[in-house]
Amino acid sequence: MRYLAPRTADDAVAALLAEKGPTRILAGGTDVLVQMRSGAVEPDLIVDIKRIPGLDRITREDGGWRIGAAVPNAALGEDRDLRASWAGVVEAANLIGSTQVQGRATMVGNLCNGSPAADSVPALVAAEAVARIHGPDGTRDCPVAEIPAGPGKTTLKKGEIVTSLFLPARPRRSGDAYLRFIPRTEMDIAVASAAVSVELDAHGRIVRARVALGAVAPTVLVAEEAAAILTGTQGEDDVLERMAEACRAICRPIDDKRGTVEFRRSVAGTLAKRAARIALQRAGGQS
């Protein structure tokens, strides 16, 4: 096994392209190292991206935020503006692991690890975050929602690296929230999760909504009908109940040691309802 820590994204891409055997990109390593220790993966090449200049920074761009691929989640929680505007995304990222894990783990790693239960992914999808990808053919931008391809899989091509995530600027009356269900209070994997992002008009009416569900299908789900139900309302109780049902209707979960189909479906709707209430509150709405 070889370990490389290139100084440019181009070098990283070249190294990944040249390697015939299995490769892994190393961001925080909180998935990769665990998988290597358990023998689940045995890469021939590890490309550490933490030495590439700029990848460890959060910068402002067009009123939004560009978050480097090596920024640890702990740093997100320390950025006051980001936290104020994208509270749901930050709380999702900050749920991951423990204090020790937070100092290392990244949202990009969470996304590219391809777990259907990854905590930051539904929040990023609800936020319409966009990933910037550096690859053999240059640079491209891709909505986060289009990256997961199933458990352990992404749509990234060989040699491609996500270098940053972009979270757009926030209008005044907007808010987001993320909730997950775990049987314990910490150190667990989401059995079901939901993220909601809303923008309100001056009357507290929802003008734009995004709802995303985690751990209830092979990839994160965008709940379009649920979002449509919210739009134009003030998030009244009966609206939220209908929205929850719309979420439940699109779940395609599995039965396993972590939860039953029935349970996951039911709880996903409940979480969406509760997350919507928090997002509305953060946006300054009624609920």
């Binding site: 269900f181 049987p183 314990r184 910490e186 029935e262 349970f263 039911s266 709880v267």
Partner: protein, 752 residues
């Protein structure tokens, strides 16, 4: 014989919260645990485990593995010789399968290599040909007449005919006329309960280092709850004499009963013997889950009758336990413990053990009692609800007390249950208001406690300090408690005493650290050893003073003349006598060897408040209080630690911990991610309330406290959840999907 009547006394050392002697080493990372031992020329052992729940081993081909550079020895079941004793044979076969693998994770071969990487690589080169057999992992399925038979020929004569050959033993306890009792009841509740197998969940995986020499001697270092047990079992399996095998226990990172047997030690010894080099084996967490002792999983049927005013008229328990692939006696302890908290006229408990394709059960704190008492206390709670009676009052009304003929036979001496219940009733927790979706559960608990074989040597050092040598690994703070009792008896400060745990060659036989026995039995032997040393010190003082030894007594750490007629001499302190010992007859020591009885049964009562989220089925424990009789709390911090630790483990058992098997018979959750012990944030502060009702069988009144604390939480939590949701829960764990489904089912029938 050993019974030493309790006498009231003023304690000076016992009862103090002194610093723990192992604390600094543990928090600075210097304590030596099982995996910390190394030896020159050491090899690394690794074990190949079965991926099948049940299969015949057709052949094992190790030739490719042996060719790998660095591989020094390989062993399989064929390397182990015959063993007379059946229970040791079972342990041998559990450590290394012979012709059949009996569960997912069962060891089939092991090898020793120059480093762990080579060892892991070599494992993949061993070719095992299996003939996969039908398997059965669930107790209910295993009891069916046509179930696959896990092991043939293991059925005891006690089992009634006509049952599956997986049912290996039957037991029955009780007294009185059940029919008349049930006829006298105003209401009878009969229910069936299920509990999942749980693991002891110690943080330190099993680890050992074995060194067998060319002339047949051996040294073994390992983390264990009993080095003498390790010696007996390994010597029998290896065909060695006990004197030739020296076993040293490391510091231990938790055991809770799970380290009262061996898993890897005979394998390491055999590899070392074959390779002629020391061999170390350290289990991974996955191996710990797949191949070391979980508890039984159980099914039970409980029937209890009660009068309108809360008097139990008759009680009956039918318990079915499975301790995995080997016969297991735990159900007998469950059947004996089931109704021990109650004073009953008519009672019967019956127990059956059932074989399944799961790992061999190992003890876990009060083995057998938690699941039996969970079921009984659930039914008592339901009866209280039925009549609208206060659950503590009902328990007080029926509580076992001095003179009660217990459901398992003996008549109780002074016991602490009534006092414990009364303390619970008077505590502010019991009267605190509850909010919506909240419920309060209570449960009693019981454990027998144990004394057993014990040796202690107490040396008076020339500088006036004292070294106590005992033979029981310290899993709950016993070294501090033993030192306190030695200091108390000798009349010297605690910090003059250091207690160490000896290897098997340095002291006579000691039973395992289990049965909550150590503070009781080792404490008792320490007190007796101190008294023996005191007798010698009094003789030495008498010799110096030129008076009769009978005329000298021991007071406040010094020899003094027994009365005015003995002569007028100033007190001669322990330090002075020690300093002169070389001139008065040589070094001074006391020792005591005993098979201690009089351990004194132990009772506890727990109060638990929970809140259940009706939309997700998630339970949050809001408040938890433990009341337990310690007889005498020698070191209150440690006693509280036992009470809190037992409660924490019991809450985990109640809420989320479970062994989950797939249809393929493989364990689905061999790790702490999906085997969910509570994390710190899952638990509220657990308030311990210590009661001290002296045990008449110990000079200081001590009772063991290590096990009772895990017994009540199962029912305390389940009763709280049942009351919070309005639905009677009958299956553990109370994982959110199960609770939500129960709430939904009950709403659906209510609506219909």
């Amino acid at each position: 014989m050993s019974f030493d009547e309790y006498h009231r006394r003023e304690f000076r050392q016992v009862g103090r919260r002194v610093p723990r002697p192992d604390g600094v080493d543990k928090v600075t990372g210097r304590a030596l645990y099982g995996a910390d031992m190394t030896a020159p020329g050491m090899l690394w052992g690794a074990i190949l485990r079965s991926p099948h729940a049940h299969a015949r081993i057709r052949s094992i081909d190790v030739s490719e593995a042996l060719k790998l550079d660095g591989v020094k020895a390989i062993v399989t079941g064929a390397d182990f010789g015959e063993v007379e004793d059946e229970s040791i044979r079972d342990i041998r076969d559990n450590c290394m399968a012979r012709d059949k693998v009996l569960y997912d994770g069962h060891a089939v071969a092991a090898l020793a290599a120059s480093d762990p990487r080579v060892a892991r690589k070599a494992l993949k080169l061993i070719r095992v040909e299996y003939e996969v057999l039908p398997h059965v992992t669930e107790l209910e399925d295993a009891m069916k007449p046509d179930a696959p038979v896990v092991q043939e020929g293991r059925v005891q004569e006690t089992v009634p005919p006509g049952m599956s050959a997986n049912v290996t033993s039957y037991c029955e306890f009780g007294h009185g006329d059940l029919e008349a009792g049930f006829a006298a009841a105003d209401h009878i509740v009969e229910r069936e309960f299920r509990t999942a197998a749980t693991h002891q969940g110690y943080i330190e995986p099993h680890a050992c280092l074995a060194a067998v020499t060319a002339d047949g001697k051996a040294d073994l270092w390992c983390c264990t709850q009993g080095q003498y047990m390790v010696r007996s079992v390994c010597a029998a399996i290896m065909g060695m004499e006990a004197s030739q095998l020296r076993v040293t226990a490391s510091e231990i990172g938790g055991g809770f009963g799970g380290k009262t047997t061996v898993f890897i030690e005979p394998v390491a010894l055999m590899l070392s013997k074959k390779a002629g080099r020391p061999v170390k084996i350290v289990m991974s967490r996955e191996e710990v889950f797949r191949a070391t002792g979980p508890t039984v999983h159980s099914r039970s049927r409980i029937r209890i009758g009660m009068t309108r005013d809360g008097r139990i008229t008759a009680a009956e328990a039918r318990l079915y336990y499975s301790g995995g692939a080997f016969p297991c006696g735990t159900v007998e302890m469950g059947a004996q413990a089931a109704f021990a908290c109650y004073d009953l006229q008519a009672v019967r408990s019956q127990g059956w053990n059932v074989l399944t394709n799961r790992p061999k059960e190992a003890a876990y704190r009060a083995p057998g009692a938690p699941v039996a008492i969970y079921a009984v206390e659930s039914v008592v709670d339901e009866l209280c609800q039925h009549f609208g009676l206060d659950p503590l009052e009902v328990r007080l009304k029926n509580a076992a007390r001095k003179g009660t003929k217990s459901s398992y036979g003996p008549t109780f001496p002074d016991i602490g249950l009534v006092a414990t219940l009364e303390a619970a009733k008077a505590h502010p927790h019991y009267a605190a208001p509850l909010g919506p979706n909240q419920g309060r559960g209570i449960s009693c608990g019981f454990w027998f406690n144990f004394g057993g074989n014990t040796c202690v040597t107490l040396n008076i050092n020339p500088d006036g300090t004292v070294s106590v040598t005992e033979g029981n690994p310290d899993i709950g703070g016993s070294r501090a408690s033993i030192s306190l009792m030695a200091a108390e008896e000798l009349g010297i400060p605690y910090d003059r005493v250091r207690t160490i745990v000896a290897d098997t060659a340095s002291l006579g036989y000691n039973d395992v650290t289990d049965g909550s026995r150590v503070t009781f039995a080792v404490g008792l032997a320490t007190i007796k050893a101190a008294r023996a040393a005191i007798r010698v010190m009094c003789e030495r003082a008498a010799r110096i003073w030129g008076i009769d030894p009978e005329a000298v007594e021991w007071k406040d750490g010094a020899a003094v003349p027994a009365g005015p007629n003995a002569g007028k001499f100033p007190p001669m302190t322990l330090a002075e006598i020690a300093a002169n010992s070389f001139r008065t007859g040589g070094p001074i020591a006391g020792h005591h060897e005993v098979n201690a009885d009089g351990a004194g049964v132990s009772f506890g009562v727990h109060i638990c408040d929970v809140e259940v989220d009706p939309e997700t089925g998630a339970t949050r424990v809001l408040r938890y209080t433990v009341f337990q009789d310690a007889g005498k709390a020698v070191h209150p911090d440690y006693v509280e630690g036992q009470m809190q630790g037992g409660a924490a483990q019991g809450i985990g058992w109640a809420l989320n911990e479970e062994y989950i098997y797939g249809a393929d018979g493989r364990l689905q959750n061999p790790g702490f991610l999906d085997y969910r012990v509570p994390v710190a944030s899952d638990l509220p502060p657990i308030e311990p309330v210590i009661l001290e009702i002296p045990n008449p069988g110990h000079p200081y009144g001590v009772r063991g406290v290590g096990e009772t604390g895990i017994v009540p939480p199962l029912a305390a939590v389940s009763n709280a959840v049942s009351r919070a949701t309005g639905v009677r829960m009958t299956e553990l764990p109370l994982s959110p999907p199960r609770v939500l489904a129960a709430i939904r089912r009950s709403r659906a029938t209510d609506g219909a």
